[in-house]
């Protein structure tokens, strides 16, 4: 595993352990010189303050690449987490005890474990079992495992939020558990669940940043790399990253608002 540490040294975000106080200066020199030519401007440390923003515009393509990575991570992980979380929620409200227990155990364990620890298990323990994927796949896996538990809780709260009378009426009509769940509860729960689900998805987008520490060059990884390469424009680069995340989270917020309004209309 120690061998696997290559690839993402800068992405790993380990500023030199010797100097705990980060000064973007000499100690980072060797790291910067190892960086690809992609990080332009590295060789021009003397930059007037008002041009610091150039560090962002000159590297716009790198930012865009990182943003794309973040979007990909988010999309793949969101789909997997939504499917897994809905399954878990079904297990937790269903009538079969072992499924219920398993669902509860999964959620309670995963919810109380930091996402970083989940990453550790996926990235460092799975290879010990000869299960090896790319860093990207590992990241998607870890993100899905973690957020499935959150999705499950959101969906379950939605199900619990549906008026009891609805389920009772469905039962009175003779619907089975499956029909009741599929035809009556889930559609209503989905509507009630939109908002909590939205915040889970927003959390998912923001949590993709942790993948930066595990060898995926997404937005945060790019920001880390560029701050190393442009020690005189740290703030500008950080702000560039902020704008990137704002674009994503605001897009999600607008999308949710539109969906909500549409659901409101069809009701």
């Amino acid at each position: 595993m120690t061998a696997r540490r290559g690839g993402g040294t800068t992405a790993r975000g380990r500023p030199p352990a010797a100097s705990p106080v980060s000064v973007p200066a000499p100690s980072r020199g060797p790291e910067a010189s190892r960086l690809p030519a992609a990080c332009r401007r590295a060789e021009r440390p003397e930059r007037p303050e008002e041009l610091a923003i150039d560090a962002v515009f000159d590297n716009l393509d790198i930012f865009a690449e990182g943003l794309r990575r973040t979007v990909e991570l988010s999309l793949f992980a969101a789909v997997a987490a939504l499917i897994g979380g809905t399954l878990l929620a079904t297990m937790r409200v269903g009538p079969v005890p072992p499924l219920r227990w398993a669902g509860t155990a999964y959620v309670e364990i995963v919810r109380n474990t930091p996402l970083t620890v989940v990453f550790f298990f996926v990235v460092f323990v799975l290879p010990r079992l000869d299960i090896v994927f790319s860093y990207f796949t590992f990241a998607v896996l870890a993100l899905s495992i973690y957020h499935a538990a959150l999705v499950c809780e959101a969906v379950r709260s939605g199900i619990n939020g549906v008026d009891v009378g609805q389920a009772e009426a469905a039962r009175a009509l003779g619907l089975t558990f499956g029909q009741n769940f599929r035809l009556v509860l889930l559609p209503q729960a989905l509507r009630a669940v939109l908002q909590p689900l939205g915040s889970v998805l927003s959390a998912l987008i923001r949590n993709t940043s942790i993948a930066a520490a595990f060898g995926v060059q997404e937005l945060t990884g790019v920001v880390q790399r560029l701050t190393t390469a442009n020690p005189d424009a740290v703030i500008a680069v950080l702000l560039g990253g902020v704008v990137g995340y704002l674009i994503l989270t605001l897009t999600l917020a607008v999308g949710l608002a539109i969906t909500e309004r549409r659901l409101e209309r069809t009701r």
């Binding site: 106080v21 000064v23 009538p95 930091p114 996402l115 970083t116 298990f121 942790i210």
Partner: protein, 294 residues
Amino acid sequence: MSGTPLVLADPPGPRGRQRILLGSIVAAAVFAGLVALALTRLADKGQLDGELWRVFLDQPALRTLLWKGLLATLRAAATGMVLAVALGLLLALGQMSKRRAVRLPATAVVELLRSLPVLMLILFAYLGLPALGWQVSTFWALVLGLTAYNGAVLSEIFRAGVGAIDRGQTEAAAALGLRPLQIFRLVQLPQAVRRMSPTLVSQLVTLLKDTSLGFVIAYSELLRSGRGAVEFLGSDYALPIYTVMALMYIVTNGLLSLLARWLDRRQSRRLGTGHAALVLDTAAGPDGRPPAQP
């Protein structure tokens, strides 16, 4: 939750019970199979060897290391919690201010901080502050990042809690001649905190979990200690050490939740109110985001 299965389906008759029993057996068998598969795989790779797991007994230094890591984690979490609550209160007050000049900036700050990854905020404190000429230790970089994010989220939680309080409370307090700040401190806040306590606690659990991000900036908390131990002892020890590490997090978070539940129960007993019915479902706030108030 406990009543849900009964709501979703009629109490099963004899045939239904049989089917549930069958389902239980199948499910149990499948799970047992999966567990067995995982265990054989682990055993095949020698991951379950006794000597690997005895490392905790054999190496007192490892125990000390993990213990120190846990203490560092708790120190960062405790500092972060205190500061985040303080910031959250300030921001909530700002957001509820009658003055536009206060309300708008406060809302903007909250919305901005809430929509950024905690890791970005930690990096801001770690890389950005020194660039502005303010040196911070890794400890404070971590704590400041956590404070910024969680302060904003807590502000929303407080605000949602205050918003859910009956308006008569505020009006009565105003009629008694209390100033806005007094109303907030004496009337709104206590009720808001009690009402939002499950959400509050789950947010504090999130904060504790997020201290693990300290490993990215080389603050030697639990996670980094464990990682260091694995690098030192060899990657064979990854599974035992990470498992114990995860358990330490789970137990700590569990204790935090238990403590909160105990406080909650004690308080409701003292006040003698059945406020439990008012408490919002924790599940409504995944990741600790407050459930939206209607």
